[in-house]
Amino acid sequence: MSNVARQTWDVVVVGAGGAGLRAAIEAREQGLRTAVICKSLFGKAHTVMAEGGIAASMGNVNARDDWRTHFRDTLRGGKFLNHWRMAELHAREAPDRVWELETWGALFDRTRDGRISQRNFGGHEYPRLAHVGDRTGLELIRTLQQRVVALQQEDFRESGDHEARLRIFQECTVTRVLTEGGVPGGRVAGVFGYARESGTFLVLDAPAVVLATGGIGKSFKVTSNSWEYTGDGHALALLAGAPLVNMEFVQFHPTGMVWPPSVKGILVTESVRGDGGVLRNSAGRRFMFDYVPEVFRAQYAADEAEADGWYEDPEHHRRPPELLPRDEVARAINAEVKAGRGSPHGGVFLDVSTRLPAAEIERRLPSMHHQFKQLADVDITREPMEVGPTCHYVMGGVDVDPDTAAATGVPGLFAAGEVAGGMHGSNRLGGNSLSDLLVFGRRAGLHAALHAGGLAPARRPRAGDAQVAAAEAEALRPFGGAEQAGGGAEPENPYTIHTELQRTMNDLVGIIRRDAEMAEALERLAALRARAERVAVEGHRQYNPGWHLALDLRNMLLVSECVALAARERTESRGGHTRDDHPAMDPAWRRVNLLCALPEPAAGVRLTRRGLPAMRADLLDLFEREELAKYLTEEELT
């Protein structure tokens, strides 16, 4: 115990991306002492990778936009599986969250009259994405980071200590959320983790913990996600007794780089298509016209002339089909490649070079230009890019209360951002994730602060020494992996297990799914879990990447099992979940959420069904009856 540093805080935020920092800022502004723990350096979170923009119906470019339209678009994109209350809060509050960033120093691109410019994006009826070129995520994270520093400067003026009320523990990993009595479902008591650079353990005692750890993409082989995306928050919630929802819905972004191999999966922003880029197959055909599904026929152009007219005159033209929601485009690309009409490296062509002048491309898409030039020797102002689907985002996540972001079943646990589920239904629209971070990051921070502030110091739960010792033993296990395995079994290499996990998920629970393959995936996952018990690492605890990966494996395996279980259970295709053996969308399934929980850690993940709450009448009235008929059951319509 002596080697565990222990500190007391009011609110602990796990993750320093958009949601985590927004939550921390809110909690600190509520007057609570707030600690943020993040795996990377401060300001390097995966949010920096977001390119397109922040969706918010400010109506700066098209004054007809309002929150109702945004709400409608979000539900259409999510195929009506979204938690309507989250979608409503999100659409209503997003503009305020964007404007607030400006008062913290953010510099978005401007309209002619000096407002925040907004751009078109897939699934959004009006130009809606506040952006800065194609590096909006960087602007967001830097603004929040600088806001944190501004608050620290305030605290320094008052107390002489920058970190008196807001501190970032960077390069630290949380391995356990501590609960009262150490039982799943007990009140939150703090977190246990280790500092990556020194390997020393730390406990932060706090009655409120906000999970803002992002997604799970590192369980897949081809992904746009960074190494941090190992599903930590998802797993921490499960282990603490909170269920996950909608885990079968994983978004494959239609356009990731496919070549060279070392960058396969890196994102090519949707703005390329929003600004005029078109998709072609090896025959030169704009194939997206062949893939407009029935439910979207009314909103999308039927031929090239109409589609091209839309960029200049959106009032009188329907949208080009390249701007369909991401799941549709990803499936279309997948189908083209499978049909043998792919590009040389197994993707399709995304061409903006014949659509915009070179200078305009460099101005609007600077980081894409840079990325292709540097990494692939491709000049996107002269030649098309090769792109293909890449694992991008998980719609599923911790089941939360829409208004407070409180996790179900664990008092004091909150979740916001990608790690929370429900908001995006079965498929997320581009741009809705950055706004999600801000809206629900703030809400999580606020309610975590209210929760912590409402507890008298004496009534705060505290994790006992035994619980901390158990967490420590768990974290140290890989160093003694070989002995613990016993029975003469060979120790396992964490890198090997990780590679096999990625291949399993990519090949068997990927963009197109089949029952038999998922059954096989579950078997393989069980075997990998057994092997992961025997993972052994060499060397010392100081900045040891092998050890870090060994600990992250637990999370990735847990989360992957949830994805595979839920995906096998849902016998329909909807949004980010496509079943080869059940290709149609089934209104009966729309009313069902699948929840994953871990009631007995040793027994593995269990799946339960829960009804989706019925939408409030005034929100339902925002849609035409004809449209609702495509999604809802007869019973619901009457």
């Binding site: 000096g114 520093v149 501004a150 190494w227 960058v263 490296h345 840079h370 990325q371 290499n493």
Partner: protein, 288 residues
């Protein structure tokens, strides 16, 4: 842990050989690998040394791919800081053959096939282990630059700025904080003692960014960012030798667009009697 480089474990990154087969013949083409020789700094600051490794290198790979291959096959505890692997987060800063670079954006094709690549941690900062340095200096300096001051009387949603007015600061906000400019700047690289009084190019650029922000109201609070840059943050140390600009992976023209204009603004305050007099008169008139 197998020492054989034939082991197709790709480490945290995707292994291209696995790629070519797993994709079911979609033709993700990587030519036959060649052997690349790396000399990597291992250990801490005082007692570390350069250690030689030989691993496969495939077409299209970057130096970080090779470091990961060393990690996955030869030295599982090799410490390297990285994150996005797309040149957007600025984590994997190090020095390759003595030049500060992002490991993830340095393609192997840049070097001759028989060239030995020496990979060392950023020289200006203390080494934690192997290629990982303690960049706390930069976070400390970040706190010394006063934050954006919102203008009084303008609420959220009321900000109006034209594109030409924000463009200058936007260039500086492209910064991914890789700290390569801080690393290469000889003011602190060659003179540890200057660290206390010199903010470095990254944070002088931050001062320039705020000084050109069209709505920053620092002046109303009695802050003078250009003067402070000179007096507090060590702008005078800069002798505009442009290494910061040379190493910037975002191609920000740090010297031409941030440091020199900031120096000129500082000259307005300190050394230009005409401008000084003019601003005095104007200020008095405003006070009246």
């Amino acid at each position: 842990m197998s020492d054989s480089t034939d082991d197709p474990t790709g480490g945290p990154t995707d292994d291209p050989r696995a790629e070519a087969t797993a994709d079911g013949g979609t033709g993700a083409g990587a030519g036959p690998p060649r052997r690349a020789r790396l000399r990597i700094w291992r250990g801490d600051g005082p007692s570390g040394r350069l250690t030689d490794y030989t691993v496969d290198a495939h077409e299209g790979e970057v130096v970080l791919d090779l470091i990961h291959r060393v990690q996955a096959t030869l030295a599982p505890d090799l410490a390297v800081r990285w994150n996005c692997k797309a040149g957007k987060c600025g984590s994997c800063s190090a020095e390759i053959n003595g030049r500060p670079r992002l490991l993830c954006m340095t393609r192997m094709s840049l070097f001759a096939p028989d060239e030995v690549l020496t990979v060392t941690p950023m020289r200006t900062f203390p080494v934690i282990r192997d290629l990982v340095t303690d960049v706390g200096f930069n976070y400390a300096k970040a706190r010394e630059i006063p934050a954006f001051v919102p203008p009084r009387g303008l609420g959220p949603g009321e900000y109006r700025m034209s594109q030409e007015d924000v463009a200058r600061s936007q260039e500086f906000r492209k910064c991914i904080e890789c700290f390569l400019c801080q690393d290469v700047c000889h003011v602190v690289r060659d003179h540890e003692e200057n660290k206390e009084s010199f903010a470095g190019p990254r944070f002088l650029m931050r001062a320039a960014e705020l000084d050109t922000h069209p709505l920053d109201a620092a002046g109303e609070r009695g802050l003078d960012r250009a003067r402070d840059a000179q007096k507090e943050h060590g702008l005078g140390f800069c002798n505009i030798t442009k290494c910061c600009t040379e190493v910037c992976p975002e191609s920000i023209r740090i010297t031409d667009n941030a440091l020199i204009p900031l120096k000129e603004r500082a000259v307005d305050r300190a050394y230009d009697p005409l401008v000084w007099l003019g601003s005095r008169i104007r200020r008095r008139r405003r006070d009246d």
